[in-house]
Symmetry: C2
Subunit: 355 residues, 2 copies
């Protein structure tokens, strides 16, 4: 898979992870926590989630410097039954909270078959697929939903920004084919894509955003004059709302008017909510037979003849899988705009920048 | 709420349920089962799910007459852990299977906090919201996903019909406001809407379907020359696929090429898969506080100023709630085309038609 080399430079996963860890340690995140966060953020970049990996570092650093994040958290189970748990993230970096929750859900699902773990007092944790994929190694299906950390979406027909792009990810393991991994915002475009368009100086296609008069908005630097469009109109709005109730309200996390815009406010704890469900395939039947059936589905989709204008059918997660193969071997391409921003952060922290 | 009276006649819920029961008993469904199915089908009509209530009766009757349904089923738990169960529907009418599963999920969730119950060897069960709403009475959230009983959707970019509209419903209780109930297909329009358009002699709007050359298809009588469009393009395809893996493949139910088109084949057992998740709000926190928070969300959405062209913001399930109020009081409007079809069915069965 050839990625556009224009204005980008490639860096190894190791170099990226080390830089992130250096930066986080410089703002006094404990070394082991910094290592875990750096590893997960780098994973995001390797998987092609360009808006959710190292791209987020300057924002995270700023939050830590302004006191908006708890660097000595006590992440713990607050409520617990056999099929669920509610975890208090104690305002820790979201990656640490969600890794804890995914491991807990996996452990519980070994006994209960299916386990649902929700969080509150969590924070932005990177791409949804990162956590949905964690149960795969245990022959489990993962399902993850998060409240986005800024509202960019009004209810359908409205103009007040009350909803985020609340994403969902679902990961299902195959036998010989790659896992099928859906990771999607409930909007046509995730806000991270708008942010990367700004940094790259690109226009947005029509359909991503509209302005307050209902007209298409294509200049990403004017994104605060409009809002993201939900997929399928009222349906995407409905999904964003229900996911918000499940990941936010049910967990006692912020939703609606209470959501803290982490692009603007770096001090107030976000009280982010997420949930992950681990589904133990063995509880439902034979694991090997299931994985073979998933392979059959995978191949049947790939074998479909295509519509005019399409070269091939893609499975959810297939592009990410190809990027992962490329980036593991050839490094992660980082855009010059992001490199400048990272160099500025490194300079402020007095650490060696990514090189 | 005023519904278009043109070419429709209203019938009381009681009259509809009695007619459905008469018809099902006439084809030898046991009286108590027929009563339950008739009640749930009528509920669908009261709630405004016009494509999923009495509209389906002639098809169900034909399936029974042709031997495609088991009238003496042994619906039973095949696998069971504290957080899940797999139910064998024994090729029973789907309403009976899903009622069994919803009650089981509720019972299990009282102990486990969250319970996931999947089915195989089930059948079409009517609208998704019917089952997602069942846990509400126990102060639980319901989440339901089903495999559709006919493939109308290719994978994104493809032309082979490998996917159904696999719907999702999520129901969350409020305190003083109505429950928020999302019930949506993963396609722009559900296939039931195409069917009702045929019966009513109406054109479809552009965006519902495309033909095999990628051109808009608006004549619903030509629906077999094209396919439904997923919401958000590849995202809706992704959702339909993942829901299929979860409701179908995981449960050992039909998915992909194995789906039996119940519009054409009335003999082969469909091996339909569904799942329902019951989430006990009390396991996560105070129930009353939760419901009040849901009310706050509800009112905040309603209070949003509107876009040009929109009179008000609607919550998921609000239109259904209004229809329910109207239809409970004034009866269910039934279109003349459907009435004719029902009279024909009644005549064939030698029972008194809906009147």
């Amino acid at each position: 898979m050839a990625e556009k080399a224009f204005d980008t430079k490639r860096f190894s996963a190791g170099a990226i992870a080390e830089f992130i860890q250096r930066a986080l340690v410089a703002v006094e995140m404990p070394r082991e926590d910094a290592r875990i966060v750096a590893k997960l953020m780098t994973e995001a970049d390797i998987n092609g989630s360009d808006g959710h990996g190292i791209f987020r570092l300057p924002g995270y650093i700023r939050r830590i410097k302004e006191g908006g994040l708890n660097l000595k958290p006590n992440i713990h189970v607050e409520r617990d039954k056999s099929g669920m748990a509610l975890v208090d993230g104690d305002n820790a970096q979201g990656h640490l909270v969600m890794r804890y929750c995914a491991e807990l859900a996996i452990k519980k699902a070994k006994d209960s078959g299916v386990a649902w773990v929700g969080t509150h007092h969590s924070n932005h944790a990177g791409p949804a697929a990162l956590y949905a994929k964690m149960p795969l190694a245990e022959d489990m299906i993962g399902l993850y939903v998060a409240i986005g950390n800024a509202n960019h979406l009004p209810p359908w027909g409205g103009v007040e920004m009350l909803l985020s792009t609340n994403p969902i990810a679902i990961a299902v393991p195959g036998k010989n084919e790659p896992a099928i991994v859906l990771d999607m915002a409930t909007t046509v475009a995730a806000y991270g894509k708008v942010k990367t368009a700004v940094q790259r100086g690109e226009e947005m296609p029509e359909g991503w955003m509209i302005d307050r008069h209902g007209q298409p908005l294509t200049d990403p630097t004017k994104s605060d004059e409009g809002f993201l469009m939900p997929i399928g109109g009222p349906k995407g709005y409905g999904l964003a709302l229900m996911f918000g109730l499940l990941a936010g309200t049910l967990n006692g996390a912020a939703f609606g008017k209470d959501v803290v815009d982490f692009n603007v406010d770096f001090k107030t704890p976000t009280n982010t909510g997420q949930f992950i469900v681990a589904i133990d395939i063995a509880a439902f039947g034979d694991v090997d037979a299931f994985k073979q059936n998933v392979d059959h589905i995978y191949r049947a989709m790939k074998a479909s003849p295509t519509l005019p204008g399409y070269d091939e059918v893609l499975l959810p997660g297939e592009q990410s899988h190809k990027k992962r193969q490329d980036r593991t071997q050839n490094g992660v391409p980082i855009h010059s705009g992001l490199l400048k921003s990272l160099a500025k952060t490194a300079n402020e922290l007095g650490v060696v920048t990514l090189e």
